[in-house]
Amino acid sequence: DTAVSQTPKYLVTQMGNDKSIKCEQNLGHDTMYWYKQDSKKFLKIMFSYNNKELIINETVPNRFSPKSPDKAHLNLHINSLELGDSAVYFCASSPPDRGRDEQYFGPGTRLTVT
């Protein structure tokens, strides 16, 4: 009965590789997000999607490309990985009826680029 799930939980890869992180929510929400949490625990929003459409792109490099095949999924593809991409990436979703800013977070994906 997981509400917001992410796969994989851990991802270790080398610089220059391309990788994807998947996110799924079974809450019936229509808005989904990606956040990046750095080593100092600072959380920054990357993208917001509503009904599969991009709403917010917080000056994220073009190497990051989110894709939302349907309202329940928001995947994150990262090209040409760099050392600075190492972080924990969180997916979140929110319902329209209680305010889009009330968010439900996934468990996170720890990405390590070597």
């Binding site: 625990k41 920054k44 917010i56 977070f105 996934g106």
Partner: protein, 115 residues
């Protein structure tokens, strides 16, 4: 522009004593404010939310926060700390101009609870 400042990076309390985690915000509009908790190696969980209905907001696990417009503060409190409260706490402001699609997180306050 919206911003949020958490005044303490670390707070340490003894079990059974009160908890105070401080947060100041900056907003040109009536903000929506939140507190989230993150336990080690876990995702974030919403503790409570302020949306102008009442200045004193009660959340889960005995936490509450008071919105003070004159002080632009939204401090989180709990009367008696429990060991399980040890976690990272984030104060969050929502940018109303984005319809709630963009939220801004504070830097976080790590709460330590001593036995």
């Amino acid at each position: 522009a919206q911003s949020v400042t958490q005044l303490d990076s670390h707070v340490s309390v003894s079990e059974g004593t009160p908890v105070l985690l401080r947060c100041n915000y900056s907003s040109s509009y009536s903000p929506s404010l939140f507190w989230y908790v993150q336990h080690p190696n876990k995702g974030l969980q919403l503790l409570l939310k302020y949306t102008s209905a009442a200045t004193l907001v009660k959340g889960i696990n005995g936490f509450e926060a008071e919105f003070k417009k004159s002080e632009t503060s939204f401090h989180l409190t709990k009367p008696s700390a429990h060991m399980s409260d040890a976690a990272e706490y984030f104060c969050v402001v929502s940018d109303p101009l984005t319809g709630g699609f963009k939220t801004i997180f504070g830097a976080g306050t790590r709460l330590f609870v001593k036995a």
